[in-house]
Symmetry: C2
């Protein structure tokens, strides 16, 4: 019998609802707090920043939320995305396990970020917004928003973390091609940026700083809103289409994963694939493990503290209950720019605390090694971020082989690495400095955040 390498779905098979895990969490997430009053923030507190429909999604406890027709229509230029069986990779490993991956890099943005970009641009447009500001790390999120905003007739200004701006010049040019304006962050355009530059004129930037800058610009104009590419509940919600599709595809493959793996920055690609499977565990008792893989140099889930912290560096967001390294933590300049974030989304944080998911951390060199093996066997050049998920999948396969068992492993290949190719050059040059963050460094960073204990 011939091997079927990929399970594809037609556009008519595409799910028409996102899945909201807030409906099914045994312990609901703690509320975001106003940093001045320490009281829970209400929808009105967020109205200067986000359109009302997204604020409603942020707090909704409905299990399913309909995807608007306009969003479904644009999803169709690239969704449903394929689910691959990694036969070549399995053969190279000599593993008894089966490895599947959902590939989210086949769209215009080169990553899963398009799933929420299109939804966010749509809801903003529907409420009369004219301009959006946002941050981007490696540039995948910025690219995703650039096309989405152009499609819906919105202007876009992107604050791009400077280290990624310098490492990945192609990403800026791609955003320009989609008609967006891109500014390296920290910039002199905002008070938040100027403050960072005063302390360190050579600051490599961070997602936290770029968020502060984008928010600062947004709140100055009623027709400008801010948009975030990960972390928040509504972003996670939009990404669940990944897992919703994967469930159908695994069924078509006649298989079911023992473990689902995603790399971890703020939580959106991991949650997107994992939460629908977690629903099956919570509601239908399906046995499954859900594993995040984060950089050892930015280990909020494995070594951070569960606490109330800001989502951005300048402290403009509400205080969020999350695992964090402290909001002014500046991660190493690893090439997985999308994973250089100090905190973890509220939903993932609560679920990790409650033992529903697992977290592990890895050094980037091992992840690039996994990525090169993947490229040479499966063909697709992975994003540096996605390499963490691949490395996690290899761990699971090797462990199963040592134990003499066969597992079914599913990971999210969140994006391609075409604009990150110089990172691979550094790998071959053996020039990927990185380190495992120590407890002392973490304690210092958290103390430096100077936050009240609100737990």
């Amino acid at each position: 019998m011939e091997k079927i390498r990929k399970i594809i779905l037609s556009e008519n098979e595409m799910p028409r609802q996102w899945y909201n895990i807030q409906a099914d969490m045994p312990n609901k997430p703690l509320p975001p707090l106003n940093p001045a009053t320490h009281k829970p923030v209400g929808p009105e507190d967020l109205a200067a920043v986000f359109p009302m429909e997204l604020i409603k999604q942020e707090v909704s406890t409905e299990r399913y939320i309909d995807i608007p027709d306009e969003v479904l229509d644009l999803y169709r230029i690239f969704r449903p995305s394929p689910l691959f069986r990694a036969f070549n990779l399995e053969k190279a490993l000599g593993t008894k396990s089966k490895i599947y991956y959902k590939y989210e890099g086949g769209n215009y943005s080169g990553s899963h970020k398009a799933n929420t970009a299109i939804a966010q641009a749509y809801y903003n447009k529907a409420e009369g917004v004219r301009r959006i500001t946002t941050e981007t790390g490696a540039g995948q999120w910025g690219s995703a928003m650039s096309f989405a905003c152009h499609h819906f007739g919105l202007e876009l200004v992107v604050f791009m973390v400077r280290v990624s701006f310098d490492q990945k010049p192609g990403r800026k040019l791609l955003m320009n091609t989609y008609n967006a304006k891109v500014i390296p962050s920290p910039s002199t355009m905002t008070a938040a940026g100027r403050s960072v530059l005063e302390q360190d004129p050579d600051s490599p930037g961070s997602l936290g700083i770029a968020i502060s800058e984008a928010m600062e610009v947004a709140i100055q104009d009623p027709y400008t809103k801010y948009s975030l590419g990960s972390v928040l509940n509504h972003v996670i919600l939009h990404q669940t289409i990944i897992g919703q599709e994967a469930l159908i595809q695994m069924e078509k493959a006649g298989d079911y994963p023992d473990v689902v793996i995603g790399c971890f920055g703020g939580g959106s690609n991991f949650s997107g694939i994992a939460f629908p499977f977690l629903r099956e565990k919570l509601l239908n008792g399906k046995d499954i493990r859900l594993v995040t893989v984060e950089p050892a140099s930015c280990p909020k889930l494995t070594k951070g503290k569960f606490m109330y912290d800001f989502g951005d560096t300048a402290g403009m967001t509400p205080l969020l209950p999350m695992y964090s390294l402290g909001h002014n933590f500046i991660p190493d300049k690893i090439h997985a720019g999308g994973l250089r974030y100090h905190g973890a989304g509220v939903l993932v944080s609560q679920l990790l605390k409650d033992g529903f998911i697992e977290a592990k951390a890895k050094l980037q060199r091992e992840c690039f090694e996994a990525g090169v093996l993947f490229a040479r066997t499966e063909g697709i050049l992975p994003a540096p971020e996605s390499n963490y998920a691949i490395a996690g999948a290899l761990d699971e396969a090797r462990k199963a082989d040592l134990e003499g068992v066969s597992k079914t492993i599913l990971f999210n290949l969140s994006g391609h690495g075409h604009f990150d190719i110089s990172a691979y050059e550094k790998y071959f040059e053996n020039n990927l400095p990185d380190h495992e963050l120590s407890s002392e460094e973490i304690d210092k960073s958290i103390a430096n955040a100077n936050l009240p204990n609100l737990m």
Copy 2:
């Protein structure tokens, strides 16, 4: 009713045979000639360069040739490729016509080149070859061969045209990641390269020169063969899977093209999509136009001479009956590196001469303008080469609108432009020098080729 944006096929629907147009050409192509004797070359003359199975395909007149199982199996990591209806582009144009495109950039190589790379690597491996040499322009072909050779356990050495080597550094790194060795051409490694460098130490190189270098290295070692990414009949043959799929997909869409369009370098992506439709015209009387679009700075089909010429600059190949600008013609440094070739494949040349296909030429600026419109509407960033096909499709739509009719237009989107993004920067900077080659320049170049008249 909801719009279906893409027609996809399952792996089981993938065609299992390539289509060989030599079976159905009213006038068969003239034979290649030995440059010394001016007698037709036989299979044995090519045996030092190509494996026997590819030589057989080069001269076969069988209508269909089975795709080997090993090739089908690897095709499945990315084939069948999707056929899109360009609804967003149509809307932006305000056209009454329907525009479809077959997208060949969704695979590891980012272009259609993977279709023949996998086949060529397979046949070489099957005949005991250990190492392959090849040329590449913009790097798509070299990337395609890199992964294919690694998969089948072959070494690969790629001579990359220097201007593209400098313009597109990411492509070299991608080939390295797939484990290939890449050398800028002209190089000092071969007599052919040294000869060019003696005359012009700053030579930008050309596909013709790179072919000479790769062939020179190959013929020195019995376990090394040479591989070509376009032009030759067996390459065209492998690419017909594009059109074979497109025929099924257009039928599923309930439509049939009035015109099929491809950009033109050596002929492989155009022929790949067009020849199966030409078969339907020749055998079943289906009305259709087949249009090539080439650079005005390298206009072999629109302004070149139909003559016997060499496929490479140093004159190592047999003499081929083709439209050519002269084998030592050095094209402008346009960013569509894959279109910088002096000649046209033998099959396309004969069919153009016989009036079965049409040719037009365009300046690169207009093609980039079309590419940016395409990116901003359909999402996919096209390769600079593919922009010529898009510009050709826009011409057809606009012409139909002027005439008050609706046409069904199909073009081949041969690849993505992720590694060509700096070319888009030049477009936005209004820095894309280019010129329409004059009759005087062409006469001079052809005289400079110094060839006997053998027609």
